[in-house]
């Protein structure tokens, strides 16, 4: 039993309640239990056999296509989980099984509490009904009674902020307004599990902030969040755990940064490519992938005196030196690099394609030294550098080598006025009495 009480020491800075959640996942019973689910689409050759199978006459399906297999994971209350994967990996099938629109062919899903899903905002809205009538109707579709909706309708109206339009037919709405009413309705009640699909990226910036605030409020009140997205930034900013699906199977389940690094390597050119994840001395997981025609042999950060450093001051000029060895003759080589913060968000990144410095006709055995100079115009904190060697403008077509966490360094404030934030500006403030 002792092992059950052991607290996972995963490093999760930034998200305040994440440490608590990790403890919860060990101590509190899960809000969602998915055990060994699989989903097969069955083809009976003729549909007649399918119909007869309802009446107890069992026929073997001619063809079974498994879109999900052996999926198992538990989710604790308040956890925020990112579900990632390429198109066709089975993300939407998994979500549909969790929400209950599809039934799994094997295994079981146990949900404790109410699920709300923001999959397609404005589903089932009638253009000729008013916003208010549609709010009633779609809350009804979620299974609420008239009295329950009466209790929240004012709050829906206030949150949607569409003013007089709330009592106008929805066909007169802009798509953003329709989304506001739809979002306000879906989130009128705090669910135990909230599923958010990429749909969230629509709408104006103001409402996006407002919706994310509400989602965060739900989360701190104990709602579990399931976010499906291709957006690395969103997953790493919001989630404290990520699950990577590939061909219907969970291939990674863990720290968002580590999972997203692996995903990033996965979507690169797949031929002859291999992905390697190694745990570094500091406990972080480094992902290296690629076909290996060129490799980063050495990387270092140097100050203006030419000394190799691990700590640099805000605003200091630095040199990033990258030594690249060519293992096979290649026609083109692009070096890219990115500076990532402790949550894995890229602060800045570019490559030699964008800088119009693509190397051509490279011979095996040659060594190249790239010297990149820039001032450290970023805020105090711990950062890492990722490098990429590829043929074209991105690593997605031909990827020689992609290396996450190639270098780790710290930015400290030595001689600048104290400030907060992730970038360094040098402001001047002028005050005049008028």
């Amino acid at each position: 039993m002792n092992s059950k009480l052991k607290i996972d020491q995963r490093e999760c800075p930034g998200v305040q309640n994440s440490e608590l959640n990790i403890q919860n996942s060990k101590l509190i019973s899960p809000v969602l239990e998915i055990s060994n689910i699989g989903k097969a689409y069955r083809n009976y050759g003729s549909e007649l056999w399918r119909i007869l199978s309802w009446f107890g006459l069992r026929f073997k399906p001619v063809h079974e296509t498994w879109t999900l297999q052996n999926i198992s994971f538990n989710i604790a209350p308040g956890e925020a989980i990112g579900v990632v994967g390429q198109n066709g990996a089975g993300k939407s099938t998994l979500l549909k099984i969790i929400t209950g629109t599809l039934k799994p062919s094997t295994g079981s899903v146990t949900v404790h509490g109410k699920i709300a899903a923001i999959l397609e905002l404005g589903m089932g809205f009638h253009p000729d009904l008013t916003g208010r009538q549609n709010a009633y109707h779609s809350a009804g579709l979620m299974g609420y009674t008239s009295a329950q909706i009466d209790a929240v309708i004012d709050q829906i109206e206030a949150f949607a902020e569409v003013g007089e339009y709330f009592d106008q037919p929805v066909r007169t709405y802009s798509s953003g307004m329709q989304m506001r009413v739809a979002f306000a309705t879906v989130t009128a009640y705090r669910p135990e599990i909230l599923i958010v699909d990429e749909a969230m990226s629509v709408g104006d910036a103001y409402f996006q902030h407002k919706s994310f605030d509400r989602i965060r409020q739900f989360q701190s009140a104990g709602t579990t969040l399931l976010l499906v997205s291709h957006d690395r930034g969103a997953i790493q900013a919001i989630c404290d755990r990520a699950i990577l699906l590939e061909q219907g199977k969970v291939i990674r389940d863990g720290e968002p940064e580590e999972v997203m690094d692996f995903y990033n390597a996965l979507i690169a050119d797949k031929e002859n490519s291999k992905i390697e994840q190694v745990t570094l001395d500091n406990g972080r997981v480094q992902t290296i992938s690629g076909t290996g025609e060129a490799k980063v042999e050495d990387i270092g950060l140097y100050n203006d005196k030419g000394e190799k450093v691990e700590f640099v001051g805000v605003g200091d000029p630095v040199e990033l030196r990258v030594k690249v060895k060519i293992y096979q003759d290649i026609p083109l080589l692009v070096l890219g690099y990115g500076i990532k913060d402790r949550l894995g968000q890229v602060m800045y990144g570019t490559n030699t394609w964008l800088m119009k410095q693509v190397l051509e006709d490279l011979k095996a055995g040659n060594l190249y030294n790239f010297i990149i100079t820039f001032p450290i115009n970023i805020g105090v904190g711990n950062y890492s550098i990722q490098t990429a060697l590829h043929k074209h403008d991105t690593h997605l077509s031909v990827n020689y080598e992609w290396k996450d966490l190639a270098l780790v360094f710290n930015v400290v404030n030595i001689d600048k006025t104290a400030f907060v934030g992730s970038t360094w500006h040098e402001p001047k403030i002028e005050v005049k009495l008028i």
Partner: protein, 263 residues
């Protein structure tokens, strides 16, 4: 049991959907809800006018120059309820495929919404029929109290057949094409526009094989001849209705999980 609970939990949605359907149908017309009454009234008035005044058809056993129109309206009232529920349940899952794939709610709510709105339509038609009857000087009697029984049997039969074929239609879409054709034949195999006694006696048993014959004749007994429906001819349709409805529910529970896969 769980399904019954689910329907109860979704009662508000079912009622609100029926309202929504009528609301959106008349949303942008200035007369609005009045059209709900005008439509059936016009339909009935056309029968009354064209068939009685122009064709002046006489009907044995009833002393009214509008007898044939009255007869036709009574049969139409029963048949249209059946045809609407049957015809619309047939496509209800396919038409709402996107909704069924995206939202988790009891699927059976959809045919219930169809049944509810068809019933409202039919009651309005019934109201219109009564108005026209009044104008034509044909006063219905207390025998009208039998109507709920007939309506119940009609709904059970139509919902049973519609639900069963509607489920199959999800997997075999030809059903949705064939059934409307069958419904047209079926209409002529039912004594709505003709009187059952007009056809040769040897085919009479064949006519009564059609469960709708007994039901429509029941409507005619009540509304035209002011007498109670013949219970013996109602037992057969009622039995068929119960069988169809049980079969449909059985299929629904079996196919429920597979439907979203095929939509």
């Amino acid at each position: 049991m769980n399904q019954l609970k689910a329907i109860w939990a979704y009662r508000y949605f079912i009622i609100s959907s029926i309202k929504t359907e009528f609301r959106s149908r008349f949303a942008r017309s200035s007369l609005g809800g009045v059209w709900m009454v005008l439509h059936p009234l016009a339909q009935v008035a056309i029968y009354a006018l064209v068939l009685s005044a122009v064709l002046a058809a006489k009907l044995p056993g009833i002393d009214n120059q509008y007898a044939y129109a009255i007869y036709l309206m009574a049969g139409t009232l029963g048949w249209s309820l059946f045809a609407e529920v049957f015809g619309r349940s047939l496509g209800v899952f396919v038409d709402n495929g996107n909704l069924l794939k995206k939202m988790a709610f009891p699927k059976i709510a959809l045919p219930l919404i169809v049944t509810g709105s068809a019933l409202v339509n039919n009651l309005l038609l019934f109201g219109a029929v009564l108005v026209v009857f009044g104008i034509l000087g044909h006063m219905p009697t207390l025998m009208l109290l039998w109507l709920p029984v007939l309506i119940a049997v009609t709904l059970a039969l139509a919902l049973g057949l519609g639900l069963a074929l509607g489920i199959i239609n999800v997997f075999v879409r030809d059903i949705g094409q064939i059934v409307p054709i069958i419904l047209q034949f079926w209409f002529w195999l039912t004594p709505v526009v003709y009187v059952s006694t007009m056809i040769p006696a040897k085919y009479h048993a064949l006519l009564m094989l059609n469960p709708m014959s007994g039901i429509v004749m029941g409507y005619q007994n009540i509304l035209v001849y002011n007498k109670a429906p013949d219970v013996s001819t109602l037992l057969y349709p009622a039995t068929i209705a119960i069988v169809a409805l049980s079969l449909a529910l059985f299929m629904y529970f079996r196919a429920n999980e597979e439907m979203a896969d095929a939509l």
